[in-house]
């Protein structure tokens, strides 16, 4: 079960300036709970054990095991896994709310595992912020004071922080509620407060720990759209934890799938659906409507000599669903062209195999 990092260059909706230097770079990260946890990542033998064996042998639980990934500037990076997969521990390790056992955690060129208490607080005050599943609001403070809390901690003056907080309250669509108390708001609105609090400090990176799991489906959809909107407006780097694949596919530029503390696959949504790394991921993405996720690149076939090559042209990153009508309407196969180069062709056959296959759950 080696993690697969499929490299497919140039994809739709790629963050504008992926100049190569990641914002967060995680290498060989381990988090082990239990007595003498340090010895586990150091010992090759213990590393090789499954969770259960490790528990029996040492009484330790490995929540995060040898995880490596980079988060690029401006992207939404989703970590997905079922409960117990270690994803919440992972995100807490990234801000050292939970102390990692081993590995490197480089943030903007600085290994934050070396940061002392003061430096870490400074980073948390200015560079990171986090949105929690159960909101973590202060019930004795009004909305605006909750939003301003992070600024207050920094030591900003009351007038200034209130002004800044009110702007953010406006941004997340809570204008008019700034003087309410959290328990007077619905769950969705409380999470907007949580979001506003995270945004108020103007951080570089936002961490979301299953922020919408506690919400109703309809409100969850609203909030997802809200995150997409905010991402467009403020363009922050976001690390988003979820157990919901459709949420991951909807929000994530790239998705990391975790299981039992290990990373199983990391890639874009269409890579996960088009080329699952193993049966676990395949089982996971089985019910995803493939036409919504796969692009033409995944279904095109090489042009054969007897193919007519005067059909319409489409790019390789067009989603199947959006191409369906065009392909079916054309009486000749559609050419998939990138930078003037013919990559392959897509005919009715290919489209129908995906679209019709959806019903069968293929």
């Amino acid at each position: 079960m080696t993690p697969t990092q499929t490299e497919v260059p140039q994809r739709r909706g790629m963050p504008q300036d992926s100049d190569g230097t990641p914002v967060i770079s995680v290498r060989r990260l381990w988090k082990v709970f239990g007595p003498k946890a340090d010895r586990v990542p150091e010992s090759e033998e213990l590393c090789g054990l499954t969770r259960r064996e490790l528990m029996d042998r040492t009484g330790c639980t490995a929540a995060v095991r040898d995880v490596n990934f980079d988060v690029r500037k401006g992207e939404v990076f989703v970590v997905m896994g079922l409960s117990g997969s270690g994803k919440s521990t992972l995100v807490r390790c990234l801000t050292r709310l939970i102390e990692p056992t081993a590995g490197e955690l480089v943030f903007e060129g600085e290994d934050i595992r070396d940061a002392d208490g003061r430096r870490l607080r400074d980073l948390r005050r200015r560079k990171f912020s986090m949105v929690f599943q159960h909101f973590g609001l202060l019930p004795h403070r009004r909305v605006v004071d909750n939003v301003a809390f992070g600024l207050e901690i920094r030591g900003m003056s009351k007038a200034e922080r209130t002004k800044q907080a009110l702007e953010v309250v406006e941004l997340v669509g809570l204008a008019g509620y700034e003087n309410s108390y959290p328990d007077q708001l619905s769950g969705g609105m409380q999470q907007r407060v949580g979001l506003a609090r995270a945004l108020a400090g103007d951080p570089d990176v936002l961490f979301f720990d299953e922020p919408f799991s506690a919400l109703d489906p309809l409100i969850r959809r609203d909030m997802q759209n809200e995150v997409i909107r905010l991402h467009h407006e403020v363009g922050k780097t976001m690390v988003f934890i979820t157990h919901d694949l459709s949420e991951a596919l909807k929000l994530g530029d790239r998705i990391l799938i975790m299981r039992d503390g290990k990373m199983v696959q990391c890639g874009t949504g269409d890579e996960l659906v088009g080329a699952p790394a193993d049966d676990y991921v395949r089982e996971f993405v089985k019910d995803v409507p493939r036409g919504d996720v796969l692009t033409l690149r995944w279904i095109m076939r090489p042009a054969e000599p007897d193919d007519a090559l005067d059909g319409p042209e489409l790019g390789p990153d067009v989603v199947v669903k959006e191409a369906t009508r065009a392909v079916l309407a054309a009486d000749k196969p559609v050419k998939v062209v990138e930078n003037g180069e013919l990559l392959g062709i897509v005919g009715d056959e290919e489209i129908l195999a995906v679209v019709a296959g959806q019903e069968g759950g293929a």
């Binding site: 807490r92 870490l120 912020s129 599943q133 909101f135 973590g136 202060l138 809390f149 901690i153």
Partner: protein, 657 residues
């Protein structure tokens, strides 16, 4: 322990059936051996007889008395503490209760105190409790018990002040640190398990008889609930909230001041309430070691069987308890109410508070300056009419109800209490000891058995074995009756929300009242007998047991009851086959609490003819040559408490495992 549990787990099916049989076998064996050995080696000791241990205690007491002013430990430690506490108490007494600084009256007279009480109640609570406070305090004056009430208040206030001074920081610390919590918990457990009044005796050894000892005893008694509740409040702040503050870069100090403390304020105020109520209860009991105040009036009246006066003073204690309870409860609820009521009211609040402050200051000045505002006017006419009414009612009850009450009393006494008591006291000590150890081991495991063995050994050592057995008999009988009441009312309350709503306030009120007060009406009804003490103990302990059982029954999942109903169970079957078995751990906990509460009434019962250990303790306070015996008796009560607490707790753990 965990290992032992795991090992026994697969066997429980077999063990459960056999355990009942083993208990039955032990009891049968006891009866048989009792018949053979009856009256031998019973370790009886006449009331005035002493053992070597008691004489040794007396000697220790004498030598401490002799060296009080020369031994460095006393000179620089105990005496200093006593001095500080004494000064604090005297200071507050000078303010509100005792004549001071050459004046015939205290610095602040009744008008000032009533004004302050009303103002403070309004400021921390609301205007309704302020009215209650004013009315309550005025009533105390009308009862003719102003000075006694103020003495009680002064002791309560100073004890609570000192207790909170330690309790809140300790509680916060225990809330923040798991290690501190682990260290404190057993101490708090022990302080709360210990029958309430027992540590009065050892304290007098170090701090002499009087207000200082009373205050220190009260501090010891009043601090644990405040520590516990504060720690609990800090701990129950949701983890996400603390994590959120961390993730925003809050320092520990910021997290404490801006998140943890504000979020636990309300619960901490409830802790203060608990602490005040505990203090009031203890201050009245501390009359046994010559603490001034209402308790003393009650004790003296009880000793001369003057029901009317005792009732009047008891009523004053109740009034004060109600006022203090309501005000602090309102204070804990205020926070939210004020926040919700909108800003308009808040802007008026400051000037109103200032105005109220001025009025209060004027009242205090008046009461400092003029005699009419300093000494409560009138002769306490209401008090004497209350007393005579109570006397009349008592006489009437004794004349007209004595048939019923005596029949009831004699029925329980001869039917239940006497046989059981003679079984305990007339059995050889080693037989009872073996039975106790065996029961402990069978019900609570080998550890409980070992604890029982140690306690039995020490009980024999105290030299008051026979008295301990008499007390044990009353305690067990009272506990059985408590459990009967607990199961009947608990199940009733647990099954019906309506009944719960009707009964719960009464039970809450009963728990608020200082235990002393219960004695008075029962003394009137049943006279000074063992039975009176038992009934008072039952009334004191039953509310706790009822509430625990009601909560246990209520906690049985709705769906389980529904499933039982759908299989066709009738009500009786649901209760006996579903609800009671599923609330077994609540039943065990109720037994535990019931026993501890009953035991803590033993000393109080000693005042009204319960005899045995309670009497020994009370007599020890008043007669120098019995001091050692009283101390030993107090120790015996503690040993009984520890033994039964360990056994029932171990049994409870077993049930829930």
């Amino acid at each position: 322990m965990a290992v032992a549990l795991e090992k026994s787990a697969p066997l429980t099916g077999v063990r459960k059936i056999s355990r009942r049989a083993v208990v039955a076998a032990i009891l049968v064996a006891w009866l048989v051996l009792f018949a053979i050995f009856r009256g031998k080696q019973t370790l009886t000791l006449a009331a005035a007889d002493l053992t070597d241990v008691h004489r040794w205690f007396n000697d220790v007491n004498d030598s401490i008395g002799a060296n009080r002013n020369s031994n460095p430990l006393f000179l620089y430690f105990f005496n200093e503490i006593r001095l500080v506490i004494d000064n604090l108490v005297t200071f507050i007494q000078d303010l509100i209760s005792q004549p001071s600084a050459g004046r015939p009256v205290p610095q602040i007279g009744w008008l000032g105190v009533v004004g302050i009480a009303g103002y403070v109640s309004w400021a921390v609570g609301n205007w309704r409790v302020a009215l209650l406070a004013v009315a309550g305090f005025t009533f105390l004056g009308l009862q003719g018990l102003w000075q006694e009430s103020m003495d009680t208040l002064a002791l309560t206030v100073s004890a609570v002040f000192v207790a909170l001074l330690f309790a809140i920081p300790l509680g916060v610390w225990a809330g923040l640190s798991d290690r501190v919590n682990r260290i404190l918990t057993p101490f708090l457990d022990f302080m709360q398990t210990m029958p309430t009044f027992v540590y009065l005796a050892p304290l007098t050894l170090f701090f002499l008889i009087g207000g200082a000892s009373a205050t220190i005893a009260t501090v010891i008694y009043a601090a644990p609930p405040a520590i516990r509740i504060t720690a609990h409040a800090i701990r129950s702040v949701p983890e996400t909230t603390v994590e959120a503050a961390d993730s925003l870069g809050a320092t520990r100090r910021q997290a404490l001041l801006k998140v943890l403390l504000p979020m636990s304020k309300r619960t901490v105020v409830m802790g203060v309430n608990q602490s005040i109520m505990a203090a009031l209860a203890m201050v009245t009991i501390a009359a046994l070691i010559d603490a001034p105040g209402l308790g003393k009036t009650v004790v003296q009246a009880l000793q001369s069987l003057d029901v009317g006066t005792a009732f009047n003073a008891g009523l004053a204690i109740v009034v004060m308890a109600i006022v203090l309870d309501r005000v602090t409860t309102a204070a804990s609820a205020r926070e939210e109410a004020a926040r919700r009521s909108g800003s308009r009211f808040l802007t008026w609040r400051r000037p109103l508070l200032a105005a109220g402050g001025v009025v209060t200051a004027v009242l205090v000045y008046l009461s400092h300056t003029y005699v009419w505002a300093a000494e409560f006017p009138g002769e306490g006419g209401i008090g004497s009419s209350i007393a005579s009414t109570a006397d009349t009612a008592t006489t009437w009850a004794q004349d007209n109800l004595s048939g019923i009450t005596n029949a009831f009393r004699d029925g329980i006494t001869t039917g239940l209490l006497n046989p059981f008591q003679s079984l305990l006291t007339d059995s050889p000590w080693w037989l009872v000891g073996v039975v106790l150890i065996a029961l402990g081991a069978v019900l609570g495991g080998w550890r409980a058995g070992a604890t029982a063995a140690v306690c039995v050994g020490l009980l024999v050592g105290t030299g008051v074995w026979s008295d301990a057995m008499t007390t044990l008999a009353s305690t067990v009988v009272a506990t059985v009756l408590v459990m009967v009441l607990g199961v009947v009312f608990g199940v009733w309350m647990g099954r019906s929300l309506l009944v719960d709503r009707m009964l719960r306030p009464t039970l809450d009120a009963a728990q608020v009242m200082p235990p002393f007060v219960y004695l008075v009406p029962f003394l009137a009804l049943f006279g000074a007998t063992r039975f009176t003490a038992i009934v008072a103990a039952i009334v004191y302990a039953a509310p706790v047991a009822i509430k625990i059982i009601a909560d246990g029954v209520r906690a049985v999942p709705e769906t389980t009851v529904e499933a039982a109903t759908s299989t066709g169970c009738n009500t009786w079957q649901i209760i006996t086959k579903v609800q009671l078995p599923m609330s077994r751990s609540a039943l065990t906990l109720a037994t535990n609490q019931g026993l501890i509460y009953v035991l803590s009434m033993v000393v109080v019962g000693g005042l009204v003819g319960a005899g045995a250990l309670g009497y020994d303790v009370v007599a020890g306070f008043s007669q120098g040559q019995l001091y050692g015996k009283g101390l030993a008796a107090g120790l015996a009560i503690v040993l009984l408490g520890v033994m039964f607490d360990r056994i029932t707790q171990a049994a409870a753990r077993r049930v829930s495992a």
